[in-house]
């Protein structure tokens, strides 16, 4: 009888590993190394006015969202109505990083679909995107008032992901980390 114990335990362990692996959700989603760390410093010309800039100091003092978007990104179009909804509630400032895009197209997008952002920085070269570890738009960062990244969301934001992942952190006063 005892000769079956070891193989049985091995099989159970394997099943547990496989179950955890399957439950993990999107296997392509990577944990951001920035969680709990200061958000990367940045400064970009704004989308609407190339002579004005937006940067880290604009985010300071408030819990804020930093949303990385682009006109070529299908997921960004999908989440756009939700961002507008959030902006209308006026509960949290939303800043944009227009990533690897062209100015005319991005401006047309804002014109046609509406502008949920306090301001968007224009990152045509993708330089700031790399500093933020962005690898696929849309990505949304929740940044605390003292500039610490509390959460990173990959892919389109939705009501469900907002309520399950962002709201608890926001209600925690941004002190969750």
């Amino acid at each position: 009888m005892s000769r079956y114990v070891l193989p049985l335990l091995a099989v159970i362990a394997l099943i547990l590993f496989l179950m955890v692996g399957l439950k993990r959700g999107d296997p392509r989603a990577l944990p951001s190394p920035f969680i709990g760390k200061p958000a990367p410093q940045f400064e970009l010309p704004t989308l609407k006015d190339p002579s004005a800039t937006i940067g880290s100091q604009d985010l300071e003092g408030n819990l804020a969202l930093v949303n990385v978007w682009a006109t070529w990104c299908v997921g960004c179009r999908a989440e756009h109505p939700f961002l507008l909804e959030l902006a209308a509630k006026d509960s949290i400032p939303i800043y944009g990083i227009n990533w690897r895009d062209t100015r005319p197209e991005a401006l047309r997008w804002i014109d046609q679909l509406g502008d949920p952002y306090i301001a968007s920085g224009f990152d045509g070269s993708g330089r700031v995107g790399i500093d933020w570890g962005v690898y696929g738009a849309p990505e949304t960062f929740l940044v605390s008032a003292d500039g610490v990244v509390l959460h990173k969301h990959l892919g389109p934001l939705s009501k469900e992901s907002w309520e399950s992942d962002f709201v608890p952190l926001i209600n925690g006063g941004g002190a969750a980390q």
Binding site: L30, P31, P33, S125, R127, I130, G133
Partner: protein, 146 residues
């Protein structure tokens, strides 16, 4: 058949060349060698089973550009890998560095070989101590004849 072959040859010749900036990044062969080695060891985060050397996704091109810039600035290889890891995590490297977090990755193969060897040893030594089949047959014969 001949036409098919021609088509195949043409297709093979065209696609990879057009895809990636294969031009030399540095005139200095030492720097060029470092650059080639680095980009073959960095994972393209957008296309996760390719290195940024093999991928023509714009993110891979951006990362190649950053690595060229860092090499030109005189940064060392560990500094450049560090640049990538602080932004994208250890996953960005095809050969994760040995740190507390990645130790299990490096040790697991050896542990598995040890465990497998031990199991094999147990099973074999058990089998060695068992009587051989013809011995059983002989004793069984004796038993029946008596």
């Amino acid at each position: 058949m001949k036409r098919l072959l021609t088509l195949l040859v043409v297709m093979l010749a065209v696609s990879p060349v057009a895809a990636i900036d294969t031009g030399k990044a540095f005139d200095d062969p030492v720097l060029q060698a470092r650059y080639e080695k680095l980009i073959s060891e960095v994972r393209c985060l957008k296309c996760q089973n390719q290195s940024i050397k093999d991928s023509n996704v714009f993110l891979a091109a951006d990362l190649r550009r950053e690595i060229r810039r860092l090499i030109a600035e005189g940064k060392t290889d560990p500094e450049i890998l560090d640049f990538l890891v602080t932004r994208y995590g250890e996953f960005a490297l095809y050969r994760p560095r040995t740190t507390g977090k990645t130790l299990i990755l490096w040790l697991a193969p050896f542990l598995l070989v040890l465990f497998g060897g031990f199991a094999m040893f147990r099973v074999l030594s058990h089998r060695m101590s068992m009587p051989l089949d013809d011995e059983i047959a002989v004793t069984a014969d004796k038993g029946s004849s008596e």
